[in-house]
Symmetry: C2
Subunit: 182 residues, 2 copies
């Protein structure tokens, strides 16, 4: 039974973890970000909430652009490592294969199934994070992993969802579903 | 293989659909919102992106507060209906059992497994949506559906994730997973 609690509850998981990549001058980095959302259809816009202590934070501020990469479940360990290690200590991109985004120069991970290039249009400080609002200016997808109706082909693509406490669940074609489209 | 596309791709699904509820003066409403995220830990803050044509938009602006409700998979049809019908035509809350939130007066759905009460602290226009940033001021949870470590008990709770095109997938205890906690 639902009850009111006298404590902070923060649970809207499971959710996808975005891998935010950035390049500026001689530096580049990758970080895991669980707090992100679409914001607008037209123009297409996206927002990511970044802790100000994160190594990528200053790079994102300086670059004014970045990319958002989504990796398949088989690469969950890459996501986890991008979350628990810091670019201050290690070149996390050295083990990843990537190209430079055409629109932004941000690293585009070759193992991703969807990537967006983003140009920052606003940065707002809210509590202990800054919220970066960006226009989507470049789109990449592994077309073989999607159906003609735009949905992911879950027979070909398993999607990792972060559940909390370093656990990732696997969304594949064994999941049950309900359709409401007439 | 990942490739650059000359078209807009907007796919970071599957994701949870938040049911945003609001009450102001004699009116109340419920709407489905797929674009939402945590923003800050301390203080706990949350953001939701709302189309300005939505019936709830004016109510949210006027009230300055709202609630975010998450329903289990068995109630996916309630989520879908909240998304495809408008409060301009029908009292969508008339078929839902709810209480008034202590902190905000916003409707708290009794069938939810997690609910947050939210006080709006900022509203920004980005593209075709407005982004409402709120402080979380009230917390509700069905404690029987969560483990002592805070993770959902997927034996007891099936979570609906919106995949796109009116399809909801079911996350339950049959999913595979990977753990990275040492």
């Amino acid at each position: 039974m639902l009850e009111r609690l006298d404590k902070t509850v923060m649970h809207s998981y499971p959710g996808m973890v975005a891998l935010v990549t950035v390049a500026v001058e001689e530096e580049h980095n990758i970080m895991a970000c669980g707090w992100h959302t679409y914001i607008s259809y037209e123009p297409p816009m996206y927002g990511v909430s970044i802790g100000r202590e994160r190594y990528s934070y200053q790079l994102l501020k300086k670059a004014g652009k970045f990319a958002i990469n989504f990796l398949p479940f088989e690469k969950a360990e890459v996501i986890q490592k991008a979350g628990v290690t810091s670019g201050a200590d290690t070149d996390k991109l050295s083990t990843q294969s990537f190209i430079e985004g055409e629109a932004t120069g941000a690293p585009i991970l070759k193992e991703a199934y969807v990537v967006y290039e983003c140009e920052t249009v606003d940065v707002k400080t809210y509590g202990d994070h800054d919220f970066f609002v960006a226009e989507l200016v470049g789109f990449y997808r592994d077309e073989a992993l999607f159906l003609s109706n735009g949905l992911p082909n879950l027979k070909q693509l398993s999607i990792p969802l972060y559940l909390g406490r370093s656990r990732y669940v696997k969304l594949d074609d064994r999941v049950g579903y309900k359709d409401f489209l007439k």
